[in-house]
Structure formats: C-alpha cells, structure tokens
Amino acid sequence: MPLNLRLLKLAQALLWGQLLISGQLQPVAALGIPMFLALSLRPNWMQARRRLLALTLLVLAAWTVTAPLLERSSWQLSLGNLVWLMGGLKLLESYTPASRRRACLVLLIGIGLAGSLSHTLAASLVQGACALCCVGSLLDLEAGPQPLKGLLRRCLVLVGVMLPVVVAAFLLLPRLPVLWSLPGGAGLGQSGLSAELRPGDIAQLVLQKGMAARVQFSGAPPPPQERYWRVLVHRHFDGEVWRQGPPPAFASTQPSPMGPMRERWLVEPTRLRWRPWSGEGLPTDPALKLSSTGGLWAGTSLNETQLYGLGASGDGISWRSQTPTAWDLQLPQGSNPKLEALAQRWRAQSDDPAALVALAQRWYVSQGFRYSLEPGQLPGTAPLDAFLFERRLGFCEHFAASFSAFMRAAGVPARVVVGYQGGSWETPLAGAPYLLLEQSNAHAWSEVWLPERGWVTVDPTGWVVPERVRLSLAASLNVRERQRLSAGAPPRWLQGIAGQWQGLDTRWQLWVMQFDSIQQRQLLPSWLMGDWQGVIALLSLALCLGGGLALMLWLERYRDNTDPARQALNRCLRELKALSPEPRPGESLQQILRRAGLQHPPLEATLDELLNLYNQYRFGSQPLPWSHLRIELRALRRRLRAFGRRPTA
C-alpha cells in the first residue's frame, strides 16, 4: 500500500478516535468508518463499483433514517457525521492519485467540522495531526515513493514555515461578521444544572465527572467561604418543587462595565440559557443580560465552550436592591404544616428578618442534621416536614429549600439559588492561575430580603456542615460516600499531570479558541485597528510568507537528498575534505581515494577498505547488508577524523 494512502487512512482513524472519545459520532458513523478502513485493506473489493455503490446507498439510507431520530443531533453534528462517512467511503475507492487528492479534501472538511464541535487542546492536537497527515499524503503523491522519515521532515518544514503566516492572519485579519444565524440543535451540553430543584438532582450531578467552568481573576480570588457562583434563581414553590417562576425583568438599557475586566469565565457546554457568575460586576459581552433577580441571561443553550468577561459595575442599581414581589413570599398553605407552625412560632418571637434568620440558624444547628448524598426519597405529601422533623438527613438542596420555605412562612421574602460553590484553585506551570469549577461543585443556597441590606446570601448547609463550604464536598461526606465520590478518580500523580494539562488547555481556550473580534480589538493597538488594518495585515502576511519561503529554501540548500548509503559515504568524504584537495571534475570515487592515499600513506589501507565496502554494497554479487555497511562506515569515519585531528609536527 503506498505511503500516501496509508497516511490518509491514519488521518481517518485518528479523526474517528477523537470523535468517538468526544461523543460526537452517531451509530452509523461510529460503526461505518472502521468498517470502511477494514474493507480498504482488500484492494480487490473496492474496485467492484457495484458493491461500492450499494454500500454508499446503504450508508446514506442508514444515516438519513437514524440522524433525525437522535435527540441530541444538531444540524452541525448530522452534517459532520455525513462528511466523516463520505470521507471513509471516498477512501475506499481512492486508487488513483486524483481520487486520493479529493479524498484528502473531504478529510480536511471533516477535520474542520470536527474542530467546530470540539475545542479542547487534546482534540485540536489530534485534528492538527490529521491535517498534517493530509499534507504529507499530498507531498508523497507528488514526489513519489520516498522514506517516511524524509517525507515527515518535508511535511513538518512546509507546515512549520507557514505557521507564522497562519498566526499573523489569525491575529491581524479582520473577522467576518456573522452573516446569518445558524440553527442550533437540541444542544450538545454535557453538563448543566437542572432547570428545577427536585430532591436528588444535585446529588446526581455532583457524582458526574467533568468540568463546569474555569474562572480567572484580575486580582486575588475570593476566599473559599465567599465562592458562590450563581446560575438559576428559583422563586416559585409548589410545596414540593422549586421553579424559576415568572420571567424576570431586564433593564431597558444595559449599563456598560467600567474599568478593567475583573473576571474571565470559560464555561463548558450546558443546556441552560443562564450563565454562572459571581453576582458582582457587569458583563462585557453585550449578548449577556443581567436580570432583576441576579441571573446572567444568555438566551441560548451552549453547544461549545464560551468565554465572557465581567467588568466593574458603575453606580447603577444592583439586582441586590431590587424590592421583592409577591412571588418571593408565595407558599402553598398547608403543604408542610409542621414547618409553617414552627415558622409562625418564630414570627411570634420576633418580626425582624435578621432575627428570624438567627433563630433558624440556631434551630438547624441544634437539631442534629446530617449531610448525605443518599438521603432517600421524600414522601409526596409534606416532604419538607418529613425532612426537617423525621429524617434530618439531606444535602444542600434540602437545607436551602426548607430554609427558604421557613422564611416565607415567617413572612420574610426568600428564594433558592442554584449554582456552584467553592472550586479548586489551580496554578499551572504554563499560564495564569484559575479557579476550576467541576460538576461536583454544584450547590444550592438561599437568599433572603433584609430591608436595610437587600438580598443577602444565606447558606443553611454551612450551618450544619461547615466543611462543605470551607473545604470541599468530600470533607462533608462519610467514608462510604467519599469512596463513591472518588471512585474512578485517577491516582494523585496523574491528577497533577491532568491539572497541568488543564492549565495548558485553559491557555489554549483563552488565547486561541475564544479569540474573536472583541479580543482582537483589546489585543492590538488602536492605531492598528483603524483604516490601515487591512494594509498592515497584508504587509505582515507578505513578510511572513517571504521569510518562510527564504527559510525553506535555506533548509533545502543544506539538505542531503541522497540515499542513506550515499549519505554515509558523503560523511566519510567530508572528513577527507580537510586532508586532500577538492575532487576534480569527472573524478571517480576510486580516483579520489587513491589520490588521497598517495598524499597520506598511513590512510591507504583505510581508504581501500572504504572503497571495497562501498563497491560491495553497490555492485557486489552478494550485497552487503545496509546495517553492516552503516556500522563499518561509521568506524572508518572515526578513523579518518582521528587522523585529521592528530597532532602535526
């Protein structure tokens, strides 16, 4: 099998592996592509056009039937699967150079589509390797059979000298605006909080492995007990489930952030249309809006990693000072009678909201609540009564839901906020430190309205298990649950490497994958972004292209394209160059060596040996093995070098 075809198959296999790991392959493509690769090992099979046509029609029919049936399929994913399948089929019938070139183009489109769906550093590296294989295949198609090492070298040089041009184009060329909005699919979100608060939701979420977001701060990060990252605000309670309630209001004019960026958020795909944030500052991206309840509204679910920043807020009215409405006091009467009765007793003791919060805190601390991720199912009627007065076993959402209900029953406006709490502070060797939020950081807490302070965060989970807030989720669990949480986690040494890799990935995301026209404006000086941007970009590109071309020609000039045996001989002759004059035009190897031997009689035997070995390898009736010649020529070269370095009188 020619090297160019092998390279194309390698690219196809690598791409398939990357897509399989990132979960973007539909069943037809997941099974079809390896089948095509296996079939292509039988060259006779692919020459039967009828079979190929039947297979193509079968694959197309299977894709047409299955693609719309899959819930998670978006147009981009379905198109990608079709292109990857077509790439595999094209390879199957690529037995002429022209068809292999076209197969290479289909593969490149497939790589581009894969790149638009997965942005991680690992995926990008695999996609880059696939593109490199395609370029190598094209080089081999043109220059004919050649050793893999030489081809790889040529390929790396060709792509390497062009990298400055790619970087210059990426940084300087004006970005094309979005001409039309592409229809989104059902969402590829792997992570995300639930839109409703039901017992068990977060418990399942925290057991999921995976990253939720990464945050970089312009200054020092907030202390662990202040790391609350809000996403959803639940105001409607029906006695069992907390929901978001009525649509929140948005300011008619979005205020602009002032000063430098305080936080940079890199959020992983999610099905929610709300984005996490600290609750302080204003978004720099005009597509994000602040709601009156303190949510960051994006309007769409997230299919790929998103970057946004938060700047300092001005003197505008904060969401914390938005006066509560009737929704913040809404509580179904008689849904949890014991809870309501206790709240009424507290109300009788004091009508000061702050005092009522303090009473609730004392009560929670004194009742011997325990924290567990497996508290069991609560009954359908009066679930909070069962939790508070019978089982006393739960996790954050039980505490937050019950406390907010207590406050509402006592006449204090309250709501439940769902988001993330804590996070691990990562300091990678490469790149700025960041706060890593994982799915296990999912959390629920309460907010109560204190007339003199506005909406205040109250976390009843922290009263019961302070370790949950100060340290981590694992610190608040018993041994069995801790083992369950850490099941499947990599060893500590691997976690260190994974942390560093994530640091590199963060840098890749921030610098490359999320680089857009906004960042371009921030990065480049203002004089470069004016009317002359296009001219300067083109001049820079021409400069980089010229430099790359000059570098390539320089490298080409000093390249030895001869076969390995001749290269080994040339190395020996180079040692001889210092000892004898230049070879004359038309002089044979024998004549050169004889002349050198006459000039330096002690070398005569060595040079005779060199001539005999080389002639035997080239013309001998029983050719010398290359490995043997290599060793012998290396030894002779050492002898020649030693002779050249001998002390002279």
């Binding site: 581009g112 050649q146 490359v512």
Partner: protein, 306 residues
C-alpha cells in the same frame, strides 16, 4: 478557423526554438491546477463555516490551507526556475518505434516531480520523481510517425510539486534534427550475395592515423585529396556479404519499409549487409551500429531532393 490560426500562432510564440534553454520567469507559466481550485474552494468553505459557527479551528485550518497555497505558488515555480536544458546529438531511428531523444539537464538543486511530454501526436511521456543536483543525460521517449528528417516538435515540461495546487510549465522546441527511417515491416526485398574479399576483411571505419600504426594502413586516397592522415580499420568476416535493394514493382514507401526490416534482421544476426538504391546510391556491406545508423540516415532521406 481564425481562432485555430491565432492559437497556433500563440503556441509558436510560446515555444522556444533553441539548442539550449534556461528556465526563468520569462519562459515559465504558472496557474492554479484543478485540484488547486478545489483546495481554494474548500478553504473558503471552512473559513465561512468557522466564522459563522464562531469556531476558530476551521478558521485556522482555512488559514493554513491558504498559506500553503500561497507558498506553493513560489515553490512550484522555483521547482522549474533555473533548470538548464541542452539538446544532445541524436541517433537515427525507425518510424513507429519509441526512440530515446537525448537531452542534457543541469540543476543546482533537488527538484521533485517533473513531467516531460512531447506535444506531437503519438509521442511519449516521461515522469521523473525527482532530479538530483548536477548534470544528467536524460532520454525522453519519442516516436516518429513518418519517414524523413525532422525535428521532434514541442516539448512540454511541467510540474505540480510540492502539493499539486499549481501547475507550472514551459514549452521548448529542440532544433536538433532526427533521421527517421521507414517503419520496419517484413516483406520482399531484392538481394544478392557476394563472396568475401580475398583477405577476408571488410573496411569498417577511418580513424586518425598515428605513426605507431605503420604505413600499410594509411588511406592514401584521402591524403591525396587533402583530407588529412587517416588509417583504415578492417574487420574480419565469416559470412558472405549481402546486398539488399528495394523490391521492384512495389510502392516506394512499402518497398523501403521491407528493406529497413530486412536490413535490421541481417545486422542483428551480424551479417555484413549493404544497400543499393535505384539512383545508384550504395552503402558497402558492413556490420555494427555505426553502419546501421548510416543505413537509417540514407533510408530516411532517400530519394534526395533535387
């Protein structure tokens, strides 16, 4: 009709008729290949996909493809630029047979993927994976369709290296003439055999005379005519010499084709064979490649123009 004339005129102007040619920007032409056009469209599609889907990977891939396209423009041109071509002396050949047309190629660098093609109908193509630095004698397959003295026509040299995105080409019309003898076809010829010369030797060639050779072998007739000092070389023969002439009552071209074939067969056997043609042109019986070449030249241009 007018377009055809204009096109032929343009082609004539594009081709260089000279014994040697150094390739430079003056005689090289370059344009996107079909694959290059597809490559450009793919890059544009990826850029559009990336910018509309707000994804940078397709954008980066598109930039890489476009930058490789830009680099290929220069590399493909440089792959031919500076190459020196020079025509070599040619041997005579028969019509309808692939023949080696020799040229000398000088290159200062390693050049991959060169394609050579004669534009005359039926002529051959040669694909070279690469040319090493230095001077090389290169044989290009060429096939003459008709008898006569002729030039091989226009040679197209093109390359698409390194990636096949651009096609760079040049035309060259080497002026070195070729003697193309008739097509070899078995058939009747007139023949008669003569006994060997008494000394059993046949005159083969004349070579410059050296004193060591003695006076016996001096070609006195040539010396008397003022052509200089030459010595006569003889070869021993074992068989009787054969004289061949075109068959009577046959069309001229057909008779010459049969004669050419028979001559080739006899010389392959090593039998001294001579030619006698209708106007008295004759070549004495002899063997060897030099004699075969002389015969081919005679057959190529006979009957001579008045």
């Amino acid at each position: 009709m007018r377009f055809a004339e204009w096109w032929q005129g343009l082609q004539r102007r594009l081709s260089r008729r000279s014994p040697n040619l150094q390739l430079s920007h003056r005689n090289l032409y370059i344009f996107l290949s079909r694959f290059g056009v597809l490559w450009l469209i793919t890059a544009a599609a990826l850029y559009l996909l990336g910018s509309q889907a707000k994804s940078n990977t397709p954008v980066l891939l598109a930039f890489l493809m476009l930058s490789l396209l830009g680099l290929s423009l220069f590399l493909t041109h440089l792959n031919l630029q500076g190459l020196e071509l020079e025509v070599q002396s040619q041997q005579a050949c028969c019509a309808g047979e692939l023949h080696s047309y020799w040229i000398q190629v000088r290159s200062s660098t390693w050049r991959p993927a060169l394609q050579w093609r004669w534009l005359s109908p039926g002529a051959g193509t040669k694909q070279l994976h690469h040319i090493e630095p230095g001077s090389h004698r290169l044989s290009l397959p060429w096939c003459g369709q008709r008898r006569g003295v002729q030039t091989p026509g226009r040679l197209l040299l093109c390359t698409t290296a390194p990636l096949g995105l651009f096609r760079c080409w040049t035309y060259w019309e080497p002026p070195e003439q070729l003697w193309v003898a008739p097509h070899r076809r078995p058939g009747p010829v007139q023949e008669h055999t003569i006994a060997n010369a008494p000394d059993g030797d046949l005159l083969d060639t004349l070579q410059p005379w050296r004193p060591e050779q003695g006076w016996q072998r001096v070609d006195w007739k040539a010396q008397a005519r003022g052509r200089g000092w030459f010595s006569k070389n003889f070869t021993a023969t074992k068989e009787n010499a054969l004289w061949l002439a075109p068959a009577a009552h046959r069309p001229l071209e057909e008779a010459l084709e049969h004669l050419c074939d028979r001559l080739w067969r006899e010389l392959q056997r090593g039998r001294p064979t001579g030619l006698v043609l209708a106007d008295g042109t004759a070549l004495a019986p002899d063997t060897g490649n030099a004699h075969w070449q002389r015969c081919l030249k005679v057959l190529a241009e006979w009957p001579p123009c008045p």
